[in-house]
C-alpha cells in the first residue's frame, strides 16, 4: 500500500514516533478533553491571519485601511472577519476550558501552576482582544478608548494613559495599539508554551472516577491503555484544528452575506462599525465588545467608577488566581467542595446576567435598588441551592463515588456502527470536495462571504471525514 508507506516515510523522516508528547487512553478522544486544543487552534488561526493583516493595516489610516482590506484585498473580507471570529471562538473556548478544568478539579495538585498560568492567559486573551477590537478605528473603537482612559483615570492611574494610548495623536494611538496587540499576542504564545509544557509534564487529568475523585489525579505513564502519540493523537488533533478553523470561517461568512448583514446586531457584526466621523455613528450606542459587556455594566453601578472597576475586574481576577489556594482539599467532585463551586456558579451567573443587561442598557446608570435585585439573588440561589444539594449529596455520595472503581469505558452507551461511519466518511469527503470546487467559481473580492462559507464547509466536512477515519481505524 503506497499510502501506508507514505505515512511511514513521514513518521521516519520527521521522527514522529519519538515526539515527546503524551499519548492518551481511548476515552480521552472526546471533545471534553480537547477544549484547550480548540483554544490553541484558534490561537494559531489568529497568529496566521494576524500576520497577514499586518501587511495591510496602516496605523496612520486605521479605519480606511481596515475597510480597504474588506473591499479591495482578494479574500480580504474573509481574512478580517475570520480574525474577529477567531478571537470570539478563542475566548469562548478559553471560558469552556477553564470551567471544565474547575468543575473536574483539574486545578488541584499538582496542577496549581497550570491553573495560574491559565488565568493569566485568560486575562491576556481578553486584553489582546480589546486592543485588537480597537485597532479598526471605528466608532466602537473610539468609544472603547474613551472608556479605557476613563477607567485608568478613575483608578488614579491617569499618568500611565500614554503608555497604552500614546501621546494624544491618532497616529500614536493606533501605532501603540498595533504594538501592544502584537506584544500581548507574543506573550500569549510564550505563556501558552509554558502552560502546555506543564500539562505534558504533569500528565493529562484522567477521568476523576478512575482515581475515586481524589487528588492527585494522575495518569500513570506505564498505563497499558496509553497508545503512542503518533499517529492517533496527531490525526485527532488535526481533525480538531480543521473543525475549529472551519467554524471560525463559516460563522462570520454567513453573517457577512449582504441580506443577513443588515440584520446582525452590531455586537456580533463580522465587520467594523461605521466611521466615528460618519453621520451613522451617532445612532450607535457606545458598546464594548460582547465579552466585556459584564465589565461595562459593572462600570454603571452606583459606587463610583473606581469601586465598580475594582469589583468588576480586579477582585474576580484575584479570586481566579488564588483558586488553587482557596480550594485546597483533595476531593475533586464539585459537590465535595461546595462553597468554591457555589462561588463559581454565582460568578458565572453574574457574568451572564451583567452581559445581557449591558447589551440591553449600555451605559445606563444603575439605581442601588436594581443593584440589590440583580446581584443578591444569585448569591442566595447559588449558596442556598448548594447547601440543599449538599444535604442530598452526603446521603448518596458513597454510592456515586463508590462506583468509580470500575473502568471508565464500562459505561456502554450508543456506539456508531463502523459501516455507517465509513459511509459518513465518504459523504463528508465528497461535500468537502464539492465545496472547494464551488469556491473556485467565486470571486475573491466581490463574493468574499460565499468563498468563506465554502471554505468553512469544506474544512468542517474534512474534519468530519477525518474523524470517521480515526474512528474506524483506531477505536
Amino acid at each position: 500500500m503506497s499510502r501506508r508507506s507514505f505515512l511511514d516515510w513521514l513518521a521516519d523522516t520527521f521522527h514522529l514516533r519519538d515526539v515527546p508528547f503524551m499519548g492518551v487512553p481511548d476515552y480521552m478522544f472526546n471533545i471534553e478533553y480537547w477544549l484547550g486544543a480548540i483554544a490553541t487552534a484558534a490561537l494559531a488561526w489568529q497568529a496566521l491571519t494576524g500576520l497577514i493583516l499586518l501587511l495591510y493595516y496602516q496605523p496612520s489610516n486605521a479605519y480606511d485601511s481596515t475597510m480597504a482590506i474588506i473591499h479591495t484585498v482578494p479574500f480580504g473580507s474573509i481574512l478580517l472577519s475570520s480574525h474577529l471570529y477567531g478571537a470570539y471562538v478563542m475566548i469562548f473556548a478559553v471560558y469552556a476550558h477553564g470551567l471544565e478544568v474547575f468543575f473536574r478539579g483539574a486545578h488541584k495538585r499538582p496542577r496549581g501552576a497550570q491553573w495560574v498560568l491559565g488565568v493569566l492567559l485568560f486575562a491576556m486573551t481578553l486584553g489582546v482582544s480589546f486592543v485588537g477590537y480597537s485597532l479598526t478605528g471605528d466608532v466602537l473603537s473610539v468609544d472603547a478608548v474613551g472608556v479605557g482612559k476613563g477607567i485608568l483615570t478613575a483608578l488614579g492611574l491617569s499618568g500611565i494613559i500614554p503608555v497604552f494610548f500614546g501621546n494624544g495623536t491618532q497616529l500614536d494611538l493606533f501605532t501603540r495599539f498595533l504594538g501592544w496587540h502584537i506584544i500581548l499576542a507574543g506573550a500569549i504564545i510564550l505563556f501558552f508554551a509554558l502552560h502546555f509544557y506543564l500539562a505534558e509534564q504533569n500528565g493529562f487529568m484522567p477521568d476523576p472516577k478512575e482515581v475515586g475523585y481524589k487528588a492527585p489525579a494522575m495518569l500513570r505513564r506505564d498505563d497499558p491503555r496509553i497508545k503512542p502519540w503518533w499517529p492517533r493523537n496527531f490525526t485527532f488533533m488535526l481533525a480538531i484544528v480543521l473543525l475549529t478553523w472551519g467554524i471560525i470561517l463559516l460563522i462570520p461568512s454567513i453573517l457577512a452575506i449582504p441580506q443577513v448583514l443588515d440584520k446582525v446586531p452590531i455586537l456580533f457584526s463580522p465587520y467594523p462599525g461605521p466611521s466615528p466621523t460618519s453621520p451613522q455613528a451617532s445612532s450607535v450606542p457606545a458598546y464594548p465588545p460582547w465579552f466585556f459587556l459584564f465589565m461595562y455594566k459593572m462600570a454603571d453601578m452606583p459606587f463610583g467608577l473606581a469601586t465598580d472597576i475594582v469589583m468588576g475586574i480586579f477582585i474576580p481576577l484575584i479570586v481566579l488566581l488564588v483558586v488553587p489556594a482557596l480550594d485546597r482539599g483533595d476531593l475533586l467532585h464539585p459537590l465535595d467542595r461546595p462553597w468554591v463551586t457555589a462561588l463559581f456558579i454565582m460568578g458565572l451567573t453574574w457574568v451572564i446576567e451583567l452581559s445581557v443587561w449591558g447589551a440591553i442598557q449600555p451605559g445606563v446608570p444603575v439605581e442601588p435598588v436594581w443593584f440589590v435585585l440583580t446581584i443578591i439573588p444569585p448569591v442566595i440561589i447559588s449558596f442556598g441551592g448548594m447547601y440543599a444539594i449538599r444535604r442530598l449529596w452526603v446521603k448518596v455520595r458513597g454510592r456515586v463515588v463508590g462506583l468509580a472503581g470500575n473502568d471508565a469505558s464500562s459505561k456502554a452507551g450508543f456506539r456508531l456502527s463502523k459501516d455507517v461511519a465509513i459511509v459518513l466518511g465518504y459523504l463528508t469527503s465528497i461535500v468537502a470536495i464539492v465545496a472547494i470546487a464551488v469556491s473556485f467559481t467565486l470571486n475573491p473580492i466581490s463574493n468574499g462571504p460565499y468563498v468563506g462559507m465554502m471554505w468553512g464547509t469544506a474544512l468542517i466536512s474534512l474534519a468530519a471525514s477525518l474523524l470517521t477515519y480515526f474512528y474506524t481505524e483506531y477505536l
Partner: protein
C-alpha cells in the same frame, strides 16, 4: 486488530475511505492555497484626479469666506488619496487681512524643472492648499506646520514667519509663493492642490495636484518637466479620499 464494539470493517472499504479523506484533504489544501492571493496588494489607482467638494465632518460644504485667516487651527483634508493629507490655508498679513496669492513659477532646486502655480482662490484669492507631507523625508503635520505672520520658526536662515516649516530636519517652504523651497534640506517644493472656488455658492473644490509627486508615492524623488505639471504618481498607493467630497478636519496649530 481487535476492534471495540463498533465492529470490524473490511480492508477494502477502509482503504477507500483513506483515499477519499486524502483526496478531500488535498483539494482543501489546493482550494485554500488560492487564498495566498491575499498577499497580492490590490492595484489601487484613481484613473485621473477627481474633482472633490471640500466638506466638514458633518458633510456640509466648507464656505470659502468662513475659513479663518492665518487661523489658529490648521485645516487638513486628504486628496487625492486618503493617505495624502493637505493643509488648507487662508493666507493673510500681519493685520489678519487676507492676502492675494498671485500665480507664480515654482522651480524645483533638485534639477531645475519648473511649473506654474495658479495662485490663490476665494473672495480675496488668498486660499491655497499644500501637501502636509514634507518632501525631505516624509514628516507630516504636526511636525510640519504653518507659521503665521508674527510666529517665527527657527530656520537655518534665522527666525522666519509666513512659512511652512518642518521641525524634523528644518526644511522651509513659502506658502505665499506656490510652496517654493526657502531652506533645505529639502530639494523639492511642496506639492500644491489646485483649488476651484464656486463664486455663487462660496464652495471649494480640489481638482488636481501640481508640483512634485507627493512624498512616498511613485516617482516622488525624480520630478521631470512632465510630471511636475501632471503628478499622476499621486494617484497610486492608497485608497481614494472620496468619490464626490473630501472631509476637512481642524487641528490646533502646534506653532502657536
Amino acid at each position: 486488530m481487535v476492534m471495540a464494539s463498533g465492529g470490524i470493517v473490511n480492508e477494502g472499504r477502509r482503504n477507500f475511505l483513506r483515499a477519499m479523506v486524502t483526496v478531500a484533504g488535498l483539494s482543501v489544501v489546493v482550494g485554500m492555497l488560492r487564498g495566498l492571493e491575499v498577499l497580492m496588494p490590490p492595484e489601487i489607482s484613481v484613473s485621473g484626479f477627481p474633482r472633490l467638494l471640500l466638506v466638514d465632518e458633518n458633510g456640509n460644504p466648507i464656505k470659502a469666506s468662513s475659513i479663518p485667516v492665518n487661523g489658529k487651527q490648521i485645516a487638513l483634508f486628504p486628496y487625492p488619496l486618503s493617505n495624502e493629507p493637505n493643509m488648507l490655508l487662508n493666507l493673510g498679513d500681519e493685520g489678519g487681512r487676507p492676502v492675494e496669492v498671485p500665480p507664480t513659477t515654482v522651480v524645483v532646486p533638485q534639477n531645475g524643472v519648473s511649473y506654474e502655480f495658479p495662485g490663490g482662490v476665494g473672495p480675496s484669492r488668498s486660499i491655497v492648499a499644500y501637501s502636509a507631507i514634507c518632501q525631505h523625508l516624509g514628516c507630516t503635520f504636526p511636525e510640519m506646520t504653518f507659521y503665521p505672520p508674527g510666529v517665527k520658526a527657527i530656520t537655518v536662515n534665522g527666525p522666519m514667519d509666513k512659512v511652512i516649516h518642518c521641525s524634523c530636519h528644518g526644511s522651509t517652504y513659502d506658502p505665499y509663493r506656490g510652496g517654493a523651497v526657502v531652506t533645505g534640506p529639502t530639494v523639492r517644493p511642496l506639492p500644491a492642490v489646485v483649488l476651484e472656488w464656486d463664486q455663487a455658492t462660496d464652495e471649494l473644490y480640489a481638482v488636481k495636484m501640481i508640483g512634485p509627486v507627493i512624498y512616498g508615492h511613485p516617482g516622488f524623488d525624480t520630478p521631470t518637466q512632465d510630471t511636475v505639471k501632471n503628478p499622476t504618481g499621486d494617484l497610486q498607493g492608497g485608497t481614494p479620499a472620496g468619490t464626490t467630497n473630501t472631509v476637512v478636519k481642524y487641528y490646533s496649530n502646534p506653532a502657536l
